[in-house]
């Protein structure tokens, strides 16, 4: 079909009966300005990573150079590959923490959505109030309590507090209520399936798309977290990228040659998350007020 309008192929319209709307250049322009603003620092780090230490402060900001691989090699050589250790640590914290958090949230959300029991509403209210608790009030006492157990400055110090996610529980409850039909649970129960089996083989698969969102949320939150590891960890072998790069910048103040490594490290540290975002786009449907809209 050669007569197919090009817009149609780019933007599949859900209701074909809709009459063609006139385009507004102003609307497009505003969106593109917003996109440019958001891409500017990312573009900069891409270009700056290709510059040598001298070029970073001398050539025009957006003129690229050819030293990207030298910079990556320098960064990789820094203290025996410490940067890659930070990358591995971050992946461990975010991956394991996110996974455990999703499991805990799924179980709690399912329990709250599909059972009636004494203290249900109170439990939910208390858990939900956790959303409003700022991490500031938790950071210092969490450090002191974990210090009493001798767990500060270990992987556990960052992992354990990252597992509980009141917001994840809230989301999981909504997904469980919406995606798991009561009839199905009842039918399985009549067939003699136990509660845990029903949860594992019926509820979890039905809740799966929502649970991916819960995982992504927590994964990004842990990946981006700074305060908790900054307080908990003293040994730079355990640092995640955020704390490691922040420290590297600090040293750069007295050792400007490190700035190139900081810039290159920044680029490398956002690559995995950007890749994750682009591949899992469809899970980024964030409905904060889902409970309110549904009624």
């Amino acid at each position: 079909m050669t007569t197919l309008a090009p817009e149609r192929t780019i933007q599949p319209v859900s209701t074909p009966v809709r009459r063609p709307t006139s385009r507004s250049p102003v609307a497009t322009a505003i969106l593109l300005v917003g996109a440019a603003y958001c891409l500017l620092p990312v573009l900069w780090v891409l270009i700056a990573s290709s510059k040598s230490g001298a070029e970073l402060f001398s050539t025009f900001t957006f003129s690229p150079s050819t030293h990207l691989f030298d910079n990556i090699a320098d960064l990789s050589a820094y203290r025996g590959g410490l940067f890659w250790r930070w990358m591995a640590n971050t992946t461990l914290y975010a991956g394991v923490g996110g996974l455990l958090s999703t499991i805990v949230s799924a179980a709690a959300g399912y329990g709250l959505a599909k059972y009636t029991f004494i203290g249900k509403q109170a439990t939910f209210n208390v858990l939900l109030a956790g959303v409003l608790v700022p991490s500031v009030v938790l950071a210092v006492p969490q450090y002191l309590l974990l210090a009493k157990l001798g767990l500060t400055n270990t992987y556990w110090a960052v992992l354990l507090p990252s597992i509980i996610s009141p917001y994840g529980i809230y989301l999981a409850r909504i997904y469980a209520a919406a995606a798991v039909p009561d009839d199905l649970v009842e039918a399985a129960r009549t067939d003699g399936a136990g509660d845990f089996l029903i949860f594992r083989s019926i509820a979890v698969p039905l809740m799966a798309p929502g649970l991916v969102t819960v995982f992504l949320f927590q994964f990004v939150a842990i990946w981006n977290n700074f305060l908790l590891p900054y307080i908990m960890l003293g040994n730079d072998q355990l640092f995640p990228l955020t704390v490691g790069l922040s420290g590297l910048l600090n040293q750069g103040a007295s050792q400007p040659s490190l700035y190139t490594s900081v810039v290159t490290g920044s680029l490398l540290s956002i690559v995995p998350l950007v890749a994750l975002f682009l591949t899992l786009q469809r899970y980024w449907k964030v409905d904060l007020a889902a409970g309110a809209v549904k009624s």
Partner: protein, 310 residues
């Protein structure tokens, strides 16, 4: 697997299962939220009494301090300054960020704009960038020797003032927060907009309603619960601003070690080893956050967080 009684399948059964499902969450909540809060309150009511020179064992002991840590924190000029600074910062960040997020979300939702998919991805991208990294990137973009803004402005003969000077640094930090948060909030609002059935717009269009009128009269009211939630979360995040100024500090001398309240908590606890002041300050902050966010939710009579009770 529990073996529930088969006879009682009709009525909600009395079973231990829901407690088992909730146990991990409740235990972790108790250990990492409730207990630390309680401990912070306890610490804030205590103080260290030093006997003699404070040397040797037993010369330092913890005693009850009543509310003295609180009065000390509240009268500390550094604390007051940091609170005012964060209030000003919040007034800049929250409306700008949410205003832009709403604008972009509405534009993404109108068929009249082009390049919507690209823009949505591009504007959401900063959410993938940790605050520390975005502060690093913007920090370099602010430095006169690197900054493209300075470069362009110099070429045009309009040299820019130092973007990290003491008067500008609050805007510099605010810009980082807006940059990092606008995309996420946009997606939240956009998701809510997508939930509106398109027949409503078609009806409104047939009635001669323009796109802007549709946006204001139909779309904004529908996404109001989402806006309220994004407002509350932004408010909480704003009061805790920490990573951005801490990361920018090596690049400028205009950010003090008590630039934000949370930085002061960190300094008191870990540099000065004064855990009791730090605890009192963090309890005050938590209380203020709670009053502001909860008060706001009550004020707007929000049904957000009103659950799907059944």
């Amino acid at each position: 697997m529990s073996t529930g009684s088969r006879a009682a399948t009709r009525r909600p059964r009395r079973s231990l299962a829901p407690y088992a499902f909730l146990a991990p969450a409740v235990l972790l909540f108790a250990a990492f939220l409730a207990l630390p809060i309680g401990y912070a309150v306890y610490l804030s009511l205590r103080t260290v009494k030093v006997r003699g020179l404070g040397l040797g064992k037993g010369s330092r002991e913890q005693v009850w301090a009543g509310l003295s840590n609180y009065s000390k924190a509240l009268t500390d000029p550094d604390f007051a300054a940091s609170v005012l600074r964060v209030a000003a910062y919040g007034v800049i960040v929250v409306p700008t960020m949410l205003g832009l997020a709403l604008l972009f979300a509405l534009l993404l939702d109108t068929p009249r704009a082009r390049a919507r998919k690209f823009s949505r991805l591009a504007i959401f991208l900063p959410y993938a960038v940790p605050a520390v990294i975005s502060s690093l990137l913007w920090g370099f973009l602010y430095l006169p020797s690197v900054s493209p803004f300075h470069h362009v402005a110099d070429r045009l003969g309009w040299p820019l003032p130092d973007l990290l000077s003491s008067g500008n640094v609050i805007f510099a930090v605010a810009n980082i927060a807006v940059w990092g948060g606008v995309g996420f909030n946009m997606v939240v609002i956009y998701t809510a907009l997508k939930a509106i059935p398109s027949e409503i717009y078609e009806a409104a269009e047939l009635d001669g309603c323009g796109q802007i009128a549709i946006a204001w009269r139909i779309k904004v009211p529908v996404v109001l619960p989402s806006l309220i939630m994004t407002f509350v979360f932004s408010l909480i995040a704003t009061l805790q601003v920490f990573a951005e100024p801490v990361t920018l500090r090596p690049l400028t001398n205009t950010i003090s070690s008590t630039w934000t309240p949370l930085m002061k908590v960190y300094r008191d606890a870990f540099t000065r080893d004064d855990l009791h002041s730090a605890a009192a300050t963090s309890v005050i902050l938590a209380f203020a956050t709670f009053v502001l966010s909860y008060g706001f939710l009550r004020l707007v009579q929000s049904r957000a967080f009103g659950q799907e009770n059944r």
